[in-house]
């Protein structure tokens, strides 16, 4: 498969055409459709339980029947979850971590990838690429303990520190994606701009960075999903419980409010909704991004 994003997005479409051509001879595969529809229950039932539990009263929620519809329907649990977890504060902190991670991952890796690709014949840049790639083999748990110490030492045991760590641990993969993409951009485009007197700075921001758009979208969406949902890093790095992100805040329902299932589920629902909404609106890049990362 080519490395240009256009071709990759065209991939499924082209294949769809093939299917349609074959569709003239063979009809829709209803048995497979029905099997797949049944399989969606494995996804939908846990989500249904989350939603229906969230709207139940505390009295109904403790009866253990997860699959019943809420009767009566109540919003009380959302109000309680909102105050118990201090949702606005957690939300603001999660948004801060995610936005910083998204912007940081795109900009830091795109800049590095551009420098590396354009100077591949220079040892420093070539070696930097392999140095950054090594991060793929260093999982967070391996360096976690010294990292916790160091972030505490330099005052980064806070949401900003977590965002930086997200940028670092995604660096290898993102730089790899960007370098592969940059290599498919013809140098002639850039040269004509340089002849017109543009420097490296203008070339990058006016020409290269806009061309990287689809790749940046993919990197950004995955950065958002990963940082919004992460539990491990914030729970270990952020020392002040008041500064915790949304996923970590959910822990209070295991310890302090363990019988208010309806409140817990309302809180879970509020925690998972933003990522689902972002996914539904950006599906195209989620799908193409994963396959780009794998196929190229």
């Amino acid at each position: 498969m080519s490395s240009a994003p256009g071709t990759i997005q065209a991939g499924p479409a082209a294949a769809g055409k093939n299917h349609r051509v074959r569709g003239h001879q063979e009809r829709s595969n209803w048995p497979a459709t029905i099997v797949l529809l049944v399989c969606t229950l494995s996804v939908l039932v846990p989500l249904y339980v989350t939603v229906s539990m969230a709207f139940k009263t505390t009295g109904q929620a403790v009866d253990g029947n997860a699959f019943s519809l809420p009767s009566p329907l109540t919003f009380d649990s959302f109000i309680q979850a909102w105050t118990l977890t201090n949702f606005p504060r957690g939300f603001a902190i999660s948004v801060f971590v995610s936005v910083t991670a998204v912007a940081g991952e795109i900009i830091v890796s795109a800049l590095a990838a551009y420098a590396i690709v354009r100077n591949w014949d220079r040892r420093l840049f070539r070696w930097s690429f392999f140095y950054l790639l090594a991060a793929m083999f260093i999982p967070f748990p391996v360096v976690a303990l010294p990292q916790i110490q160091l972030t505490g030492l330099v005052g980064l045991d806070n949401p900003l520190g977590v965002a930086i760590l997200h940028i670092v641990f995604a660096l290898a993969f993102n730089t790899m994606l960007f370098t592969a993409f940059l290599r498919s951009i013809p140098l002639e485009l850039e040269e004509s701009m340089r002849i017109d007197g543009a420097g490296t700075w203008q070339v990058f921001w006016r020409l290269i960075f806009p061309l990287l758009g689809p790749m940046s979208a993919t990197v950004g969406i995955f950065a958002f999903i990963a940082s919004w949902n992460d539990f491990m890093m914030p729970s270990l790095i952020i020392s002040d419980p008041e500064m915790q992100t949304i996923p970590v805040l959910q822990k209070i329902f295991q310890t302090q409010f363990s019988n208010s299932y309806n409140v817990a589920f309302a809180s879970y629902l509020m925690a998972m909704t933003p990522a689902i909404v972002v996914y539904l609106f950006t599906q195209r890049w989620v799908m193409s991004g994963l396959t780009q990362g794998a196929v190229k």
Partner: protein, 312 residues
Amino acid sequence: MSSMTKPSTGAVVTSPAAATTTKTRKSRLDPLYYFFLFPALAIFTLAVTLPAVLGFVYSFTNSVGFGEFDFIGIRNFIAVFQDEGVLSAYSFTLAFALVTVIVVNALAFLLALGLTSRVRFRAALRTVFVIPMVISGIVIAFVFQYLFSNSLPLLGQSMGIEPLATSILANPDLAWLAIVVVTAWQSIPSAMLIYIAGLLTVPAEVYEASSLDGASPWHNLRHITLPLVAGYAVINMVLGFKNYLNAYDIIVGLTDGGPGVATRSVAMSIFRGFEGGDYAYQMANAVIFFLISIVIALIQLRFTRGKGGIAA
């Protein structure tokens, strides 16, 4: 060099890029490029290399995470190998990763096959199947924890299935199954999308030609589809295994390592380094874990090169 990066993104276009850059900019280097590269190198060095080196040094000491310490040689490493808690964490994590990789790949491949066949509502089905990927591991683990400890036992009792009548999360022999289920639930979508991409690279004509020759669908699957997606299976297994070795969020949400220490992963045992004052000891554990991860990755990459299907 190119063999080193074979399974990676970089490898495919390495040489042409090198050629074009040589042509244009051998002589003069804009110093701005250093400035472009610097942030990535700086944060990587400070946030990964430095802690990795520190951790390596600490693993030969008796540090408790603060204050003074002495170098004690490889005593921590010897102790790790004699620590039953740590050994059980390793065997649990490896077994869990292996089972999960198999379950995830089998189901993801079947779903991908289904979603690339002539089913109705294909786009909608795919949208639904991908949702688990975007849900927080710890949050969905809490949801499943409720289902496993409340709803499933009710179901088991009413149907008279003995092992399900009590919470499987409280059963040291079965709790790991729950972790496999939830981890698979969350990781199947990404593996499935990669398989779909792989299946779509097989031109429809290949199947048509094969069918004209009288090949059965089973024959097509066995002799056309499976060999062509083998490379994608390797990607899925390498990426998946790496993630499952670091399992943490879902286990915390489901069992928190229990009952007892039955489902404590390596990551969980390392993080305990800050609780019991065995900081340096757990660093030795982390060094061992790192070496094991590297060895597994190298074995997988070796296997990948044999298959040679990825960069194609």
